[in-house]
């Protein structure tokens, strides 16, 4: 009789533990979404800071004058040919592609952030002009290039 009593107690114990497990299972990823946000990295940024970034983002020599005025340079090849004669010299032209689109991405981000707001129209339109200017460099180099869908990721 006593043995049976002990067995019931143990069965209860096991059932209770299993029940506790089932409950805890429902919360296996509780709080995970909040945890996966890096506290050091902002998820939004004042577009004014992004605009400065787009303005200072380097990586390319945008002009040809420096090389063109050098009398000993060969204008039939290399960078000068790309600038002077509208020839696609990939080594130089691709630099523009790779420099302008990251800027356009940053500017698109500024435009998206400010879209629909009215209090910072100057900033908004500065970003529009900058975007157009970067696109112009690319059109100048390549002809038709992605514009409306550029920088959207």
């Amino acid at each position: 009789m006593k043995i049976k009593y002990v067995n019931i107690m143990k069965t209860k114990y096991v059932v209770a533990t299993l029940f506790a497990i089932l409950i805890s299972m429902a919360g296996c990823d509780k709080g995970f979404e909040q945890l996966n946000v890096n506290p050091l990295s902002p998820t939004s940024l004042d577009p004014a800071y992004s605009l400065v970034s787009a303005q200072t983002m380097g990586g390319d020599d945008f002009h040809y004058e420096g090389n063109i005025v050098q009398q000993t340079n060969n204008i039939l090849g290399g960078q000068e040919a790309a600038g002077n004669r509208n020839i696609n010299v990939d080594g130089f032209c691709s630099q523009k592609w790779n420099a302008c689109y990251p800027r356009i991405r940053t500017l698109v981000d500024v435009l998206n952030t400010l879209n629909g707001t009215t209090d910072r129209t100057n900033l908004y339109n500065m970003a529009r002009i900058m975007k157009a200017w970067n696109a112009m460099i690319l059109v100048d180099t390549y002809g038709d290039v992605p514009y409306t869908e550029a920088g959207l990721g």
Binding site: C28, D29, Y49, S53, T106
Partner: protein
């Protein structure tokens, strides 16, 4: 007189014999399994030194004093027996084989102990005696060549360096495919890190004192490791430390060792032409300091010639190339106390390890305190292991040009001794580096050793507390709390006045970095275990859960150029770049294992683990990792049918799917603000990454199937354990280039696929097993064939090598083995002739593949000889079938050191090539100009080597002197002497050790770039038990 004495002694002896020898017992000793006679069995009269041995037919005879006498029969590999003589005069004995494997218990995943026979997968247990006597500062290096399927590389990066462990190849294209290290049931961090000059900061395994280790089990395949789910892709190394279990009474143990490390010089240079350029020796003091990197001078004649110190020295060969290096000395002492009774025990140890590296002013010190305890209070068992380590690593050698010292050591001219500037590394006028070469990246090594500092201090504590409640004999509950925490303080500088630095606009050049980082991982886990037998069936199951939380924090500041000379502080820095890092992730898991057995010969094991990742998209953050394994003991199942010489036979097979880890914050788009405002005024920032975040990433998956066979024959004289496996990795996360019109350069996609398949075997033989002497010899061999199956976006090749890789490229190529070594060949014509232009060769602009940098063949041959109380251990191991590219040999030829730079010293080199029109080259090019072409064009072909080697790795002799000192205060005394890296028996790499690759990263494997030389070590160990 002498004759009389002899007679007297003989008489006395005979008298004694007669007095004692009441009767003679004879008999025969047979082995139980095959009933064959056993020779060499020791027969001893209990309580005396009177003994005998069986002869070749197993017969013995012994004199016993009376019928109460007890005879003891013992033989290595057999269970000893005692027999009371009684009134018998013929006693025949059958000795039973000690087939320990039958009941051997293996520590498996989660610390669950299981019988070896029931496992459906391959495991290996490492002999801890060999580890302790090996004296390696990093215990990982002691595992080299000992386990089939485990490929260990010990990079020559000083005593505080890492140990590179790889099980069954490389499971991903990533840089680290290191197995999970589990200590006492809980994972610890084993990440390696690298200093800015290619130095090795070590790994996590080095925080363990090898003296504290009770056992090491290697779980090779995915099934063995399946209960570790997302951490199991590379197998698991299970380390169990001592906890005083089974200890009776109090014991004190002192273990001391001293090891001397000497560099091994594999260089085979030309010693004909000395320091100088274009065939001319230095003619003035300045010239002596300019040209030390070239051995293109004149024939050495012993005449006084200017050199690196601006003084004249005899123009003669200096063959002691490694004179700069010192003898490394490592002293280690461990004092441990252990005690216990029938309810439990404890083990407490204090270890101190001081290693002076071969590089001057470089050392690695560690202090480790380890506490293990276990105690049983009725139904409750408490167990805990805590390990504290304090490590200090000072100036580990680097491998880059400049501050990586060995580059200068290796390339200094053959007539020049660097010790001439030992006390002249500071220019007495400027206070800057005393330059010894016109190549400023050949930094004066004494300057680097004494003016540069790079230190790292790690305080670490890891351990766990476990409570187990045995509810009934067949049911238990268990809970465990575990943590691994460390804090690292690091500092380094580039000293002001180092010649390769550009001048500062104002003040003093140089830089300084100070950082602190810490890591904390906590694991909370629980387990319910059931173990029940129903007739012929038995069920053994566990169900549990784990909550892991991992936090990394770091903060560092880099400053460049200083206001005050030689003051390395943040405040003194002119430009300051601080940085801060933080990441946290959690993984929650549930797992269960169910083991069924029938008749004790058929076993089935099923496990499942589900992991929930905080790092992944909440919509798809749950992954299930299942495994199934079976084992069949056919010798038990067909008992009586099987031949008697087959003692044990087991077939096993298993399949499992496990995963890879993931990094936090990868799926979200975030912004970052630049450290310093633009022009000091305008804050700026933007989207933090150029990789477009992909919220749908999932962890990579490894699917592995394996089958194996274990056999023991002829009373354990032959044992065999063999496995075959196929391991497919799918869904590896790779960067896919996307059009930068999107604003991003790449995105991450789950596309990579690769495969490792192979064979591994362990054959153990006991060819000699006679009285007092035995020889055990074991061969282990692993074959791993890898293949790249798919790369991102349909690409056929992806370059993975990173860092200072202007010489050498490691890539992954679809259809080829992992780790393709690629480079440029000479430019050749259709017939394969090298095309020369005016006597110069050219480089083929297209890359070619030379082979894989990962060895497909790895193995070892281990021999243990035991004679009475003396044990000798010798190990030979090998790796074969892989390639390396040697940047050193490239420097040796272009700087005139190697013998292959000798042709053409007089009269110029007429290279064996053809002109563009196919006619043979006849143009002679001045020697140095010609050999410098290797630098101008960098053709790889002459510097690609077969990296295979066979090495006599270890020779250890130990003596157990316990019986000579027993009875006094000693309970045990063992002394041993060992040599590591005894001899290189076969290699193909010129001038270097094929194992000299100092980088532990998988993405830079096979690229030899001026790492420190390897060493041979001589060790002495003393172990005393009180």
């Amino acid at each position: 007189m002498r004759k009389l004495t002899t007679t007297l002694v003989l008489l006395l002896f005979a008298g004694l014999q007669v007095a004692l020898a009441q009767k003679t017992i004879t008999g025969k000793v047979l082995g139980a399994a095959d009933n064959n006679p056993l020779s060499g069995v020791t027969v001893v009269l209990k309580g005396t030194l009177v003994g005998s041995n069986t002869d070749a037919s197993g017969n013995y005879s012994i004199l016993v004093p009376n019928n109460q006498a007890i005879l003891q029969f013992s033989f290595i590999g057999f269970t000893p027996q005692e027999v009371t003589v009684g009134n018998q005069s013929v006693i025949n004995i059958t000795l039973a084989e000690t087939v320990t494997q039958m009941n051997e218990v293996v520590v498996t995943a989660l610390g669950i102990k299981r019988e070896a026979k029931s496992l459906g997968y391959s495991t290996a247990t490492v002999n801890t005696t060999d580890i302790a006597e090996n004296n390696s500062v990093n215990v990982g290096n002691a595992l080299m060549g000992k386990v089939s399927g485990l490929n260990v590389s010990a990079p020559p990066t000083g005593p505080g360096g890492s140990s590179k462990l790889r099980i069954r190849g490389q499971s991903s294209f990533g840089d680290s495919n290191s197995p999970l290290i589990v200590v006492n049931g809980v994972p610890i961090n084993n990440a390696s890190s690298t200093s800015g000059i290619g130095g090795d900061w070590g790994d996590g395994l080095q925080s363990i004192n090898s003296e504290d280790i009770e056992s090491i089990t290697v779980l090779k395949g995915a099934t063995a490791a399946a209960l570790y789910g997302f951490r199991a892709k590379d197998g698991v190394l299970i380390v169990t430390t001592k906890s005083g279990a089974g200890q009776k009474g109090l014991g004190i143990e002192l273990s001391s060792g001293i090891v001397f490390d000497k560099t091994i010089d594999y260089t085979d240079f030309q010693y004909v032409y000395g320091q100088g350029q274009v065939g001319v020796r230095p003619t003035d003091a300045a010239g002596g300091r300019q040209s030390s990197s070239w051995s293109f001078g004149e024939k050495m004649d012993g005449a006084p010639t200017y050199s690196i110190d601006g003084q004249q020295h005899p123009y003669s060969p200096v063959k002691d190339r490694f004179g700069f290096y010192e003898t490394g000395v490592t002293v280690n002492n461990t004092l441990s106390f252990s005690g216990g009774n029938e309810n439990g025990g404890f083990h407490f140890s204090v270890g101190d390890n001081n290693a002076k590296a071969i590089t001057p002013n470089s050392k690695y010190d560690k202090k480790i305190i380890d506490l293990g305890l276990n105690y049983k209070f009725g139904k409750i068992t408490l167990q805990s292991n805590i390990n504290y380590s304090n490590e200090y690593n000072q100036n580990p050698p680097g491998s880059t040009q400049g501050l990586g010292i060995s580059n200068t050591i290796y390339t200094t001219a053959v007539s020049t001794d660097l010790r001439w500037v030992k006390d002249l590394y500071i220019d007495p006028v400027s206070g800057n580096e005393w330059g010894i070469s016109s190549l400023t990246n050949r930094t004066n090594p004494y300057w680097t050793a004494y003016k540069r500092f790079e230190t790292r201090k790690r305080d670490r504590i890891f351990g766990n507390v476990l409570l187990r409640y045995d509810v009934t004999p067949w049911l238990y509950l268990q809970g465990r709390v575990a943590q691994d925490y460390f804090s690292v303080d690091a500092e380094n500088n580039t000293p002001t006045g180092t010649l390769f630095l550009g001048a500062a606009a104002t003040g003093f050049n140089g830089d300084y970095t100070i950082s602190n980082s810490n890591f904390r991982e906590t694991n909370l886990d629980w387990l319910i275990g059931v173990n029940k037998k129903f007739g012929l069936f038995a069920i053994d199951g566990q169900f549990g859960g784990n909550a892991m939380d991992q936090v990394n924090k770091s903060i560092s500041t880099y400053v460049q150029n200083f206001y005050i000379r030689d003051l390395y502080t943040i405040n003194n820095g002119q430009t300051k770049t601080p940085s801060q890092g933080f990441s946290e992730k959690k993984v929650n898991s549930f797992y269960g294992t169910l083991n069924l057995s029938y008749h004790d010969y058929l076993f089935l094991n099923v496990t499942a683990r589900n992991d929930w990742f905080s790092t992944l998209n909440p919509k798809s953050n749950s992954y299930l990792y299942p495994s199934v394994g079976g084992s069949f003991l056919f010798t038990e199942a067909f008992k009586g049918i099987m031949p008697a010489w087959l003692n044990y036979g087991k077939l096993r097979a298993s399949y499992a799917e496990v995963g890879g880890d993931t990094s936090p914050y990868g799926s979200n788009l975030t912004y970052s603000l630049n450290t310093n405002a633009f022009d000091g005024t305008y804050a700026y920032g933007g989207i933090a990454t150029t990789t477009n975040p992909n919220p749908d990433l999932r962890p990579l998956k490894v699917k592995e199937a394996e089958a194996g066979l274990e056999l023991i024959f002829f009373n354990r004289r032959i044992s065999l354990d063999a496995s075959v496996y196929r391991k497919n990795t799918v869904d590896e996360i790779l960067n896919v280039a996307i059009s930068s019109a999107s604003g991003y350069s790449s995105t991450k996609v789950n596309v990579g696929r690769l495969r490792n398949q192979g064979f591994e075997g362990l054959l153990t033989l006991n060819p000699v097993r006679i009285q007092d002497f035995s020889w055990e010899t074991a061969f282990n061999y692993s074959l791993n064939i890898s293949k790249v199956l798919e790369l991102a976006g349909g690409a056929t090749v992806m370059d993975v090598s990173a860092g200072q890789m202007w010489f050498g490229l490691v890539s992954e190529e679809v259809g080829k083995p992992l780790g393709s070594l690629r480079g440029n060949d000479y430019l050749r014509d259709a017939n394969g002739n090298i095309i020369t232009t005016n006597g110069h060769f050219n480089k083929n602009p297209n890359l070619m593949t030379y082979g894989s940098v990962i060895p497909p063949h790895v193995g070892g041959w281990l021999n243990t000889f035991t004679y009475k109380f003396i044990r000798v251990f010798a190990q030979i191991d090998f790796k074969a079938g892989h390639k390396l590219v040697s940047q050193s040999n490239y420097n040796f030829i272009r700087e005139g050191l190697s013998k292959s730079s000798l042709p053409g010293r007089e009269g110029g080199v007429i290279f064996d090539g053809v002109n563009a029109d196919g006619t043979p080259n006849t143009v002679a090019v001045e020697a140095q100009t010609f050999y410098t072409d290797y630098s101008n064009f960098k053709p790889f072909t002459p510097f690609i080597y077969n990296a295979s080697f066979i090495k006599w790795r270890t020779l250890t002799a130990s003596a157990d002197l316990t019986k000579f000192v027993k009875g006094n205060i000693f309970k045990g005394l063992t002394v041993s002497a060992s040599i590591n890296n005894v001899l290189c028996l076969l290699k193909y790499v010129d001038n270097l050790d094929p194992e000299c690759i100092s980088n532990v990263s998988d993405t830079n494997a096979g690229i030899e770039q001026m790492g420190p030389p390897t060493t041979r070590s001589y060790g002495l160990t003393l172990n005393v038990k009180f």
